[in-house]
Amino acid sequence: MASVSNWTARHGHALVSTAGHLGRHGVATVLTVAVMGLALALPLALNVLVRNVRAATGDFSEAVGLSVYFKPEVPEQKARQLAKAAAERTGVASVKLITASEALAEFRLQSGFGAALDALPDNPLPNVLTIRPSPDAASPAQLDALRSYLLAWPEVDSVQLDRDWVLRFSAILDLLRRVVLITAVMLGAGVIAVVGNTIRLEILNRRAEIEVTKLVGGTNGFVRRPFLYAGALYGMLAGSIAWGLVAIARLSLTPVAVRLATAYGSNFTLQGPSVAELGILLLTGIVLGWLGAWIAAARELARIEPRTA
């Protein structure tokens, strides 16, 4: 008797009647969904923030570099050869040679010590290589390895690594990401609790109906179904609200961010949630709503058995 089309029709019916039920209880639905939406919006907003911070500060590979100082006696010719050799190593994106004479010229121009420099018998500056690692070879460990490799060359006097602030920055980002995760877990539990409580009240309100349904042979699964749909719908609506809140926040922050970026001479723009993030958001909302409803239904429905008058 129960064909596939019956099954579809039945679930469709449950879904539509559940949606209608939520619609008729407008204020309660709106309040529940608003609380859930706020709870989902916070982790989303934090995640978007972390992503924007990363985008604003640019690729690590552009900021991180090694400065290789050759010994003063190493001639320019030799420095050029070594620059080529360094460029061929894997994990190196670019190598730029600043020759001693170039460095001197620049120093003369910028320092204003031109006359003093002329008094020196020799150029005191060494040839220098600035090396940029490729993005996939910019981890602290890989940079350390590159540094040791370069230090082993007999012509190299010292290698400076702009590493400390990279370490700090990546630690800060890791911390932020962890904060996002913890916030998401805590607020997710909150969402489950809110849905669970709403569904529990709903079940108590519809106690008479549940009793009669069980009395005429409705299974627990049948009785539970509309409540699970209600939970999932709450979750989906909450996800949409969270999306809306983050979108509004982004719109109101954009002019400020643009002004800040312009002041730093950057063309950075504030990014909104990605499509993947929105998908995850909606899915999370639906799953949490379903889960909260399921927990409430499992607890409450077992207690409701039909009675005679």
Partner: protein, 219 residues
Amino acid sequence: MISFERVSKRYPNGREALSDLSFEVHDGEMVFLTGRSGAGKSTVLKLIALLERPTRGQVIVNGAQTSRLPLRRVPLFRRGLGVVFQDHRLLMDRPVFDNVALPLIVADTSFREIDKRVRAALDQVGLLGKEQVAPLELSVGEQQRVGIARAIVSKPPLLVADEPTGNLDATLAAEVMGLFRRFNEVGVTVVVATHDLHLVRESGLREILLDDGHIGIHG
């Protein structure tokens, strides 16, 4: 159809509602369950509808031994009988159609079939055309008949009624009894618990008299 064998029922509060009760109702029979309030009529009905299980003895309904039936089989068991209550237990926020359709909906019946059978059931209780009416707009007698339509819509072989005429005047009570007689004539086994001895005597049908949880003796 129904067999009680040395059935006792003790409630958690210690009250023994039935003690060592045995009786049988045959297929296609219609019987009255009578006795004073507290004699155990409702307990008998609860045991039949599997709202309660016996403390001792065995209850066999529709071929199923109720005390051995696992919980997950209970819904299927309940689809094999229709129950009518004194307070009819209608869902007041749903139209008549939805109320009567409920036993079919839980049994995954197709929508076309539901439509057909709900109309047939309403026709049998004389309420055809009231599908979209809210139960509150109906009279007490009509509400009771909606409850009866809900009990018979899935054509169960057994119909159980708890004081179905308790809230009705004599004319309406006779009407409702007439409905039960008609279902019985087409093969449905009917058990009616009632105070209304006048209706029982008039019907000439078998009466199971309960007295303090036992089969009583007519005085």
